[in-house]
Symmetry: C2
Subunit: 204 residues, 2 copies
Amino acid sequence: MKMTADKENTEEKILEAAKEVFLEKGNDGTRMQEIADKAGINKSLLHYYYRSKEKLFAAVFKYAFSQFAPRIFSAFKDDEDFFALIRNFISVYIDIVSKNPFIPLFIINEINKKNTVFTNVIKMSGINPQVFKDRIQKEINNGKIKSIDPNQLIINTIGMCIFPVIGRPLIQVILFEDNKAEYDKFLESRKTEVADFIINSIKI
Amino acid sequence: MKMTADKENTEEKILEAAKEVFLEKGNDGTRMQEIADKAGINKSLLHYYYRSKEKLFAAVFKYAFSQFAPRIFSAFKDDEDFFALIRNFISVYIDIVSKNPFIPLFIINEINKKNTVFTNVIKMSGINPQVFKDRIQKEINNGKIKSIDPNQLIINTIGMCIFPVIGRPLIQVILFEDNKAEYDKFLESRKTEVADFIINSIKI
DNA sequence: GTCTATAAATTGATAGAC
DNA sequence: GTCTATCAATTTATAGAC
């Protein structure tokens, strides 16, 4: 039906525009007018489809979190060689965050603000780091890697992947004289450099 | 003189209140009224002393950046043993960011937004990572550590120090069942864990 | 479904009394 | 220096025509 097609089309256009603006500017920095302009529609339609700014933001947050956090643990294949698993995970993960540079900072910021509101979203997201922790512990028990607190290893890994992306504007100026191309090369090389760094540290 | 004393006292109270609010909520999320309430003075006085919100924000940003970034390289002593230097730097650095958890995220966010405005602040801050790069290269040349791109090592180090602080609300829920005391212990133990992790990776 | 017009509330900033 | 009163602009949200 045309009506339904239009409806979904407009609703989709709004959500796409809202993603762009909210992800870049956060909840406080976002104006409904800017979303409407980007979607090419009237401002009133935002309320027609999403009632309020808060509900539209919630839709964007839900998308961002579903898009991002589960993928943290998605590249995980349990039967793989552990070092190959690390190499694969880091390569995929750095690739994702490099292509979606606003999402990690957006999530961190909004969770820092409305902690109570989104704690539930996190808990119901199905994120379960236990498979990771168990696998690390298994490798330690089997004498394949040095003893280390699995939580420490996990945070080390994710920190090294995310920090150069969310801190890019600062780091690019201080360490790379604001050379964008050089920084892109730097990020690309980290797909293997970070894995080497970790494996060097934990191998026996 | 009493007048001067009052002036500086009020001006100082305003700046202190502004730091609290701006650092936690960012520029967009901050209301002048909230700063005035926290300082215990009238809203008009904010403009009397700082003319505009933008100028007050600039004062806070300047403070935050001066407080934070230079300390990145302050714990550096050139004559020290390299591994001792790493241990000392990481311990001091994690301690600083743990006690000022809002500053790193504040700086990253605001630089992400007004990139052109604050690029100058960065450049004129006197930050010079070259001493770090040179020292790392020297250790490589002397055969004390494995070959590694100094930039990679620097970002690995800072990333592992900062990420668990700025991502705390998220990580604490996912990995520590929102147990604050456990997370505090986790952060404290990282002062040595991160150094061990790095040294294990680069030692020959 | 989509638009125009406008309400209602917020907020940065200024004028002027004391 | 500090306060009250108020302006002017912005912004979310709604009412109503088409």
